[in-house]
């Protein structure tokens, strides 16, 4: 049995229970129980209608739990009203679930956890392992999140932007633990893209696919980071790139540019270059200009300075950098890189070491420290 296939049924099943009148928190628990039961039972006895099976089992679990809660009169009302199991507006339900799980009243960590469980069908244990926290902590985070959104009406329209932020966070978490969060984020974004026509949903999906395509090439066998320019482009996943480019082109055809589409366009230009030297940096700078216009983010301006350094020379990059706040994350790393290209190796070495001390993660720290060491090891003249 394919676990991912099973989990893909989760939002539809949950949506049916909620539409039948189950409250979200209880329905979500019941669906989790049904998923666990399916993993146990299906290998020996696969159902003809997997979704119908899940709905039936989850509904029964929900009623049992409701009974245990001594809410007898409510249960009887529900039993009287029970509609026949059958096709339901699954697409709308899926979309509503995304909105609910990314509700603005939730912190981003809670929204991420709830989305992975209620939409993704992951178990609490899997989510806890992926985020390296105890299972009890994750269980509390999820039940608090469910309580927070319990008063939200299920048919209330939500904001796609908050959903996209949650999915971006899941993707960017990378790949610690047993669950491949990047692959899961792509699956959930693909599912969302099927539920709603929205250029930024497509833009985010394209961005994820284009970055995911480089994943194998980004890390050396010893775990160290390989910068884009040094990656073995033969190891890039051409299927993922082709899909990402196709999704991006369809998104851009809407002519409603957003930040994810612009970021994906930059990733596509990298993907398109047969060698690092053939990268179309002039076009990349243009996309960073668009991104700056869209987000006015200092991080974008920082990356733009790198691109300017490639397109117009290190001096131009340093001039662009001079306009930015030196306390920005990765500012020293960018400065080091541009100074090295400009031939000022002593300054570059000092800045690489400073950047290493400020690095937010270990592989980046090690990478930057190696850059400093490489320059410091050169014979002094």
């Amino acid at each position: 049995m394919n676990e991912v296939l099973l989990r893909s049924l989760t939002p539809g099943v949950l949506g049916i229970l909620v539409r039948r009148g189950a409250d979200f928190a209880a329905a979500e628990d019941a669906v989790q129980d049904a998923l666990v039961e399916a993993v146990r039972v299906w290998p020996a006895d696969p159902p003809r209608d997997p979704k119908g099976w899940l709905v039936t089992v989850a509904w029964r679990r929900f009623l049992d739990a409701t009974r245990a809660d001594a809410a007898r009169h409510r249960r009887e009302d529900l039993l009287d009203e029970e509609p026949p199991p059958g096709p339901a507006p699954a697409v709308d339900d899926t979309l509503q679930l995304y909105f609910l799980c990314a509700h603005p009243s939730l912190t981003s960590a809670s929204a991420v956890a709830l989305t992975l469980r209620a939409v993704g069908g992951l178990t609490t244990r899997q989510i806890a392992q992926a985020y390296l926290v105890p299972e009890a902590t994750m269980a509390q985070r999820i039940s608090r999140a469910k309580r927070t959104v319990s008063g939200v009406r299920f048919d209330q329209p939500g904001d796609v932007a908050t959903v996209l932020r949650v999915l971006y966070l899941v993707f960017n978490e990378g790949y610690s633990g047993d669950v491949d969060l990047a692959a899961e984020a792509i699956r959930l974004t693909r599912q969302l893209a099927a539920a709603i026509d929205h250029p930024e949903v497509a833009g985010l999906l394209a961005l994820m696919l284009l970055h995911h395509a480089r994943r194998a090439a980004r890390t050396a066998p010893d775990g160290s980071l390989v910068p884009l320019a040094e990656q073995d482009r033969g190891r890039w996943d051409t299927g993922s790139i082709a899909e990402g480019v196709e999704v991006l082109q369809a998104a851009l055809a809407w002519d409603r540019l957003g930040e994810f589409q612009a970021q994906a366009a930059i990733a596509a230009l990298h993907a398109d270059a047969p060698t690092a030297e053939e990268t179309d940096w002039v076009q990349i700078v243009e996309w960073y200009d668009e991104l700056t216009r869209l987000t006015d983010s200092p991080v974008v301006r920082l990356n733009r300075a790198v691109a300017v350094g490639q397109a117009d020379g290190a001096r131009a990059g340093l001039a662009a950098l001079a306009e930015l706040d030196p306390s920005l994350p990765r500012h020293a790393a960018v400065a080091a890189y541009l100074h090295e290209r400009d031939g000022d190796l002593a300054t570059a070495a000092r800045l690489y070491a400073e950047a290493a001390r400020q690095a937010p993660n270990l592989p980046e720290h090690d990478h930057l420290m190696r850059q400093a060491a490489r320059l410091n090891a050169r014979p002094r003249r």
């Binding site: 960590a109 991420v112 978490e173 910068p227 320019a229 937010p360």
Partner: protein, 139 residues
């Protein structure tokens, strides 16, 4: 989401406001302190922010490699060592601000006279796994 270490020192942190050593508290004050710590941990778990907490014995030993085929050299404890860690909590929170807020709460644990210790705690961010979308120059 980010993990932070809340580090508690036996020695090496600036002096607390309520700086009476624990052996001079009343037994009830010690119980109240321990209760506060336990409640704090329970509240963190209920909030979905708890990762780990451990206390360390004050006595430790320094150890170093002494060459092929030789046993490690041990030394200490060094009385003059500035830093002596008493224990830690690891939290998983939404923001740096939240980490600071929680460290402030923890520092309010009661000591002598039932008054907050106002102990200095060190807040240290964890180095994480690299994000899937990074911008390592020149990428």
């Amino acid at each position: 989401m980010a993990k932070y270490l809340l580090l508690k020192h036996y020695r090496g942190a600036p002096a607390s406001v309520n700086d009476v050593p624990m052996d001079q508290w009343t037994p009830e004050e010690i119980s109240a302190h321990i209760q506060y710590m336990n409640d704090f941990a329970a509240r963190l778990e209920a909030a979905g922010e708890w990762v780990d907490g451990q206390a360390l014995a004050p006595e430790g030993t320094f150890v170093r490699y002494d060459g092929e085929g030789r046993p490690p050299v041990t030394d200490g404890p060094f009385a003059e060592t500035k830093d002596l860690i008493a224990g830690w909590m690891v939290i998983d929170v939404d923001s740096y601000e939240r980490a600071i807020e929680l460290a402030g709460d923890l520092s309010a644990a009661p000591g002598a006279g039932g008054k907050p210790i106002h102990e200095w705690l060190e807040v240290r961010p964890f180095l994480t796994a690299p994000p899937a979308i990074t911008d390592l120059p020149p990428a």
